[in-house]
Structures are given as C-alpha cells and as structure tokens.
C-alpha cells in the first residue's frame, strides 16, 4: 500500500507557484510547451501552499525572505518535498562574498532539501532531471532513462 501511495505521490508532484528570481523564469519554461513538465503530472502549479506537495526554491533567498519562505514551507501539508533550483538556492551562488549581509547561503540551512539542481540558471532539462531524481528518491527506483553518462 505504501508503495502504491509513494508511486502516486511521485507521479503527482504539484509545485507551489513560488518564483524568487532568475531561475523562476526557467521554472516557467519547464512548464511551457517546449518542455512540458505536465507530462509527469507535475504541471499543476498551485498558488496556495496548502495544496502543493513540492516547493521549488528558484532563486536567491535573502534574510528578509527567509521567514516568509519558512512560513510557506510550514503551510504545506506533509508529505512535502523541496527542490533547490539554481546555484543561489543551493549555496548563495555568485552573490556570496566576504562580508555579505543579506543572503542565506543555501536554502538547506532553513529547510530540508531533497534535490539540488545546480546551474545559473539550470536549463529546464536540468529541472526535469531534478524532478526525475525526486521521483527516484520517493519510489526508490528510476522509471525513466537516466542522463547519458558523460564521465
């Protein structure tokens, strides 16, 4: 039963409409005609966090934004997942420097992150790959052909 439920969850990841910065545009691209994230059942972007399963942190998280992000995360009903999309969300990205005063250096310092998708911004394929990785994490198996082994 749990297996079936996990399978259902993995194939119906509704992200919350939550765009932060540049990566949000690529997130939109991933939902658009060319890449069509809806193929995996993840195209239902819910504006209300209460109805979403997945938060895609797509951009820089600042210290002013952090409490808002935490609230949003708390409002999501469990089970819930987080994808850190783009370098800013992973580590602060190119905006980290000595003496910076406004950045959370990595969203994993605030909330648990399941999948990291690096890039500045990552291509929509990168995000799709992140989705597939998340599916892999939820169900334990990979249903789709993996990325071509480059090295």
């Amino acid at each position: 039963m749990d297996k079936v439920l996990d399978l259902a969850r993995a194939n119906s990841l509704w992200p919350v409409t939550f765009g932060l910065a540049c990566c949000a545009i690529e997130m939109m691209s991933a939902a658009m005609s060319r890449f069509d994230i809806d193929r995996f059942g993840a195209g239902v972007f819910r504006p209300s966090p209460r109805q979403a399963d997945l938060m895609i942190v797509s951009g820089t998280v600042t210290k002013k934004m952090a409490p808002v992000l935490l609230t949003l995360y708390d409002q999501m009903p469990s089970p819930k997942w987080v994808i850190a999309m783009g370098n800013c969300a992973i580590s602060g990205g190119p905006f980290v420097f000595e003496g910076q005063y406004n950045l959370i250096e990595g969203v994993d310092k605030l909330i648990p992150v399941d999948v990291y998708v690096p890039g500045c911004p990552p291509r929509p394929e990168g995000l799709l790959e992140g989705f597939l990785k998340l599916e892999e994490k939820i169900t334990g198996t990979r249903r789709f052909p993996g990325p071509v082994e480059r090295w």
Binding site: A8, R9, D36, D38, R39, G41, S48, R50
Partner: protein
C-alpha cells in the same frame, strides 16, 4: 401499513443503489474530466499534457486522487471549525440532487419529479452556500473576498439562468425534465430558442465558476480564492465538485436544448453523454482561450445584457405561443 413499509424499503434500497451509482459516477466523471482538461489544455497550448503516468497519462488523475487522499489535512489556526469542515461537504448536496432528476436515458432516471427543474435550480444555491461557508470558515482575507464575489456572482447569474429556462418551460408546459426531453422529439429547442440557449450557457459557465467567470478563485488576484486554506482531501472535494458541476450544467443544457438522450442509431445514454461531454469540452475551450473578466464587468454582463435579453426572449416566446 406493511405494504407501505415494503414500498418504502424498496424505495430505500433504490435510494441506496442510486446514491452509490451517483457517487461512482461523480468520481469517475471527475477523474475523466481532470484528465481531459489537462489533455485539452496541453494540446491547445501545443504541448502534450499528462503522458508518462500510464498510457496517454490515463492513470494521472488516479495518482492525483491517491496522493490527495494520502496528504495531511491541515486545520489552520483560528478557523471556524464546523463551518470550515461543512463547506466542502455541503457542496455535494446540489450535485446529488441534480443526478436524481436528470434523465440519462428514457429509462435511466432515478426519479421523475414533476417539478424536476425547480429541484435543480433550488438546490444549486447550495453551491454558493458552501463556497460562502468555506470562505468564511477559512478566516482568510482572500477566501472571504472570493466568497463575497461568489455570492454576488451567483445572485446575478441565477436570474438569467432561470429566465432562459422559463422560456423553454413555457413551450413544454411542464416542469418535469422528462417531458422537456420528450417535447424535443421533432426539433431541438436550441433551434427554437437560440437566445435562451446562449444565455443559459453563459450563465451556466458563470455559475460553475469557470473562466472567464472564475472570479471566486481568481488565481492571480486571490491566490486560490475560497479554497485557499483547504488541503488534501478537502481540497479534492472542491475539485470534484467543480468538475461534477461542469458536467451537470452541461447535462441540463443537453436536456433542455439539445434533445436530451434522443438521437439516431446509438442508445440514448451514449447520445446523452456525447452531447454533455461536448459541452464540457466547449467550457474547457473557453477556459484556455479567454482572460478573466473583471468583477463589475461580470455583474454588468448579467444585469445589462443577459437579464434584459432573457426578459425580451421570454416576452417574445409568450407572445408567439399565444399566436
């Protein structure tokens, strides 16, 4: 005494079977329609829509439903609990009632009540009521605005809805849905009452809160409108109700204007479903084409265009009938 008991018991069994059938139909219909909606949306937007989950993505709605069932149901702080929980349940009353009186086929009708259409119209106001309860119970400003909009909208659109159906009723001299269908044996009422058909369909789209009249849940303004605070299964109930409502208004339109279950060659039920789902498709087509109207425009369309028009239509119909 015993006889009455017997009949009542049989009636009770019938009711139970009917309820079960209705419940099954509601669920299956919603599953099909969510899938269809996403597929239609996808292809209208040059993309595929659900594909990877099952063949042609057919299992997608099942996965969604399962997931929603398995989700935590959050009760936000400061909500008015009884009202908050009643909202999504109440929304099914009109749905159930409507299924009782709609003739799916000449023999497939749970009950032919002689005031059938009044039943549907009377109970359709429960949709608004439950939206209102949801909006109020959520203790959220967006929800509240959403439900206030919903009330004003339904008050405005109930009138043309009624008036346009009244024109048909004047022609059939009966409030029973079956009689209405039978009266269309020769010619469908859409050809005799085209204005009433258009008015009814527009008002029906508005009553079901579909784009371009989806103001109570206007995504870009009110986050998710009246169901902003609902999660998991409770949200799924709203979702179910929306799609069932879509089907019901289409079914009523079919019954009143498109000859109901009548049609050549195929069995009546097939014709009925074909026609209904075609209208549902048209509603989806609307949704993926048009932007949303503004609130005052929404009311203006009803008060300044639809209501006068339906009155004129009613007068003309009455006059012609007398002649």
């Amino acid at each position: 005494m015993e006889q009455i008991l017997k009949i009542l018991d049989i009636e009770g069994v019938r009711l139970a079977v009917g309820l079960l059938a209705v419940f099954l139909f509601v669920v299956v219909n919603a599953l099909i329609l969510t899938w269809a909606e996403r597929k239609v949306a996808g292809h209208m937007q040059l993309r595929i829509g659900p594909k990877e989950v099952g063949p042609y993505g057919l299992i997608q709605p099942l996965a969604d439903a399962m997931k929603l069932l398995g989700k935590e149901i959050i009760t936000p702080r400061n909500v008015d609990k009884p009202i908050f929980y009643l909202g999504p349940i109440m929304i099914f009353i009109p749905v159930l009632v409507a299924f009782v009186v709609i003739p799916f086929d000449s023999y497939l009708q749970v009950r032919d009540i002689n005031v059938g259409i009044l039943v549907i119209l009377a109970f359709s106001s429960f949709t608004v009521l439950s939206i209102l309860m949801a909006g109020w119970g959520s203790n959220n400003k967006y929800s509240l605005i959403g439900s206030i909009r919903s009330i004003a909208q339904s008050v405005a659109y109930e009138i043309p809805l009624l008036l346009s159906l009244l024109a048909v009723i004047m022609m059939t001299n009966s409030l029973s849905l079956k009689d209405v269908v039978v009266a269309q044996k020769g010619i469908w009422f859409i050809f005799l009452q085209p204005v009433a058909f258009i008015i009814y369909f527009i008002a029906a789209v508005a009553e079901t809160n579909r784009t371009p009249f989806d103001l109570p849940e206007a995504e870009s303004e009110l986050v998710a409108g009246y169901h902003t605070e609902y999660s998991g299964m409770m949200f799924a109930l709203f979702f179910l109700a929306e799609y069932t409502n879509m089907f019901i208004v289409s079914a009523i339109t079919v019954t009143f204007f498109l000859g109901g279950y009548q049609g050549p060659f195929l069995p009546g039920i097939v014709w009925f479903l074909l026609k209904s789902y075609f209208l549902v498709f048209v509603m989806m087509w609307f949704r993926w084409t048009f932007p949303r109207v503004r609130f005052d425009q929404l009311l203006n369309i009803s008060w300044k265009a639809l209501i006068p028009l339906s009155f004129i239509n009613l007068l003309v119909t009455g006059g012609l009938l007398k002649l």
